[in-house]
């Protein structure tokens, strides 16, 4: 299995995403998320270089600026203000969820092989494997963590997976759509971050497993 740069970058992004799962420390999670998104931006730029589509370079730049720099910076500010310190509990221990995440790579590979028509040109199964495993990582992160910030990070990783899927399978969606997407994600994170302040003020904690007042 010789990896060319295209596949190597995608799998690197998947691996960094899985490393996010390994710790409960919120600042470490954000650092890994930053590196993971940088790998995805590099992958986009590389694909732009391979297919000579210039709009991919713009998208790569914007992904790097918005998702790799601004959003982690904003979330770090939120963490400092909310003073949640580092960790919270989790439903599965962090190391176990990281190992589960590593196994989802194998699972995603099997799924990619099953979907006909997914392997488009020149055997890009690894691209969709990486994207799907990042998707699963995001879902794992959202389901097993209790801090509200971990849910935001999980959502961001999920979006990254879907974006990587788009970029490796379809070589990017039209420029305006991608820009709109990035803007939406930024606004969503900001709204969620602002809500987080109020959650901390009202509930005195940001533990979503204890926000169960509204029930039938």
């Amino acid at each position: 299995m010789v990896l060319d740069t295209f596949e190597a970058l995608a799998m690197l992004a998947a691996m960094l995403g899985i490393l996010i799962l390994g710790t409960n420390d919120l600042r470490t999670n954000l650092a890994f998320y930053s590196m993971h998104t940088t790998a995805i931006a590099a992958e986009t730029a590389w694909i732009g270089h391979l297919t000579h589509e210039n709009h991919l370079f713009w998208i790569a730049g914007c992904v790097f600026l918005i998702k790799s720099v601004s959003i982690p910076y904003f979330l770090k500010w939120v963490i400092r203000k909310v003073d949640v310190g580092t960790d919270t509990g989790a439903f599965i221990a962090a190391p176990l969820s990281m190992h589960l995440g590593a196994f989802t790579v194998g699972l995603s590979y099997l799924i990619s092989k099953q979907i006909p028509g997914l392997v488009g040109d020149a055997d890009s199964t690894l691209g969709s494997t990486a994207a799907m495993s990042i998707l699963f990582t995001g879902v794992l992160l959202m389901l097993t963590r209790r801090a509200a910030i971990s849910q935001i990070v999980g959502f961001l990783v999920l979006e990254n997976g879907i974006y990587l899927f788009a970029v490796t399978q379809t070589h990017g969606m039209p420029l305006l759509v991608e820009m709109g997407l990035l803007l939406e994600v930024l606004v969503a994170v900001m709204v969620a971050g602002l809500l987080l302040f109020n959650i901390k003020k009202s509930f005195e904690h940001i533990d979503v497993s204890q926000m169960t007042e509204l029930k039938d």
Binding site: M1, L3, A8, G22, A94, P95, M98, H99, V105, T125
Partner: protein
């Protein structure tokens, strides 16, 4: 042994020199780097040699409660580690072609640990007891990481003889830079714990909170201590050497170059990696005991990635 060609003689001499003379220098490099990071001058590079010689001249103090196990452990460990140095692929030049089987190597390390633990318990002190229990726990957690990293390399090479895996001629392994790199990272993280470096254990303090390895060797003195310290230096050499070899194999340049450049690069890489360990020690905090399994989990995750690559190599 093969014929006495000049290259072979030079190789043997270089190997023996590196094996016996380099280890204390590594410890010297680590200490010097840490000192410079802390803005002090620090002891000279060759200080560990002087320390070892000083220890050999001292009188020994042995507790009355110990048995033959305590007195002979230092010698046993030293001999096992020398045998390991001949078997394990810690450098690119080997004078003898011995079958360095993966399991033999891992269990020789285990045998060293076995004797160390027993000698720690032998002295009957509280320090020895808890140091031994912590050491054994860490070894339990680390074993899957080290085993899977090396085994995935073996699976791709279709052999468990690590000498064949690491000798820059295996065709199927020459096209797997990702596998080598991940195995190197996993083994490096595992070495940090195995060698009782930060963030797993603080090698400089003798506080109850931070001791794992130091607790076990606390009772030794004079010649025994010299031999134990020297064995620890040998262990640093071998473990860092294996990680360096993995990382060197990941660069395609080293597969097609001369033996001289490879050998020089190997030794230089080990020294640089020692300095890197010192950098990590200066920057990282020692983890709380209950957080240590999370750190080790990163090493295990790397090894799981290696396994996945090894299983998927034909794709």
């Amino acid at each position: 042994m093969s014929s006495f060609t000049p290259e072979k003689v030079i190789e043997t001499v270089a190997f023996l020199a590196t094996l016996f003379l380099l280890p204390p220098l590594l410890v010297g490099v680590i200490r010097k780097t840490k000192a410079r990071m802390q803005n002090r001058i620090g002891a000279p590079y060759f200080q560990p040699y002087y320390d070892l010689l000083k220890l050999l001249n001292k009188n020994e103090t042995i507790s009355k409660h110990t048995s033959w196990m305590f007195r002979s452990t230092a010698a046993f460990n030293f001999s096992f580690l020398v045998v390991l140095a001949f078997l394990a692929p810690w450098t690119s030049f080997h004078p003898v072609e011995i079958n360095g089987d993966l399991f033999l190597i891992l269990y020789l390390f285990g045998l060293c640990r076995f004797f160390t633990v027993l000698s720690a318990l032998d002295a009957g002190s509280a320090f020895g007891g808890f140091g031994a229990s912590r050491e054994v726990t860490l070894a339990l957690l680390l074993e899957p990481a080290v085993m899977m990293c090396l085994a995935s390399l073996g699976v791709v090479a279709q052999t468990s003889n690590l000498t064949d895996v690491f000798n820059y001629t295996n065709v199927s392994l020459s096209t797997q830079p990702a596998l080598w790199f991940l195995a190197g990272m996993g083994l490096f993280l595992a070495s940090l714990v195995e060698l009782s470096r930060m963030p797993a254990d603080d090698p400089t303090t003798h506080l109850e909170l931070t001791m794992v390895h130091e607790a076990m060797i606390l009772e030794n003195s004079a010649a025994n201590l010299a031999l134990t310290e020297y064995s620890h230096c040998l262990k640093i050499l071998i473990l860092l050497g294996i990680s360096c070899q993995c990382l060197l194999h990941a660069c395609p340049y080293f597969w097609h170059t001369t033996a001289l450049i490879r050998g020089g690069a190997s030794v230089l890489a080990i020294v640089m990696m020692a300095a890197f360990v010192a950098l990590i020690e200066s920057v990282a905090v020692k983890l709380r005991w209950t957080k240590l399994p999370e750190f080790i989990a990163y090493s295990v995750a790397m090894s799981i990635f290696c396994v996945l690559i090894a299983l998927g190599r034909n794709l």
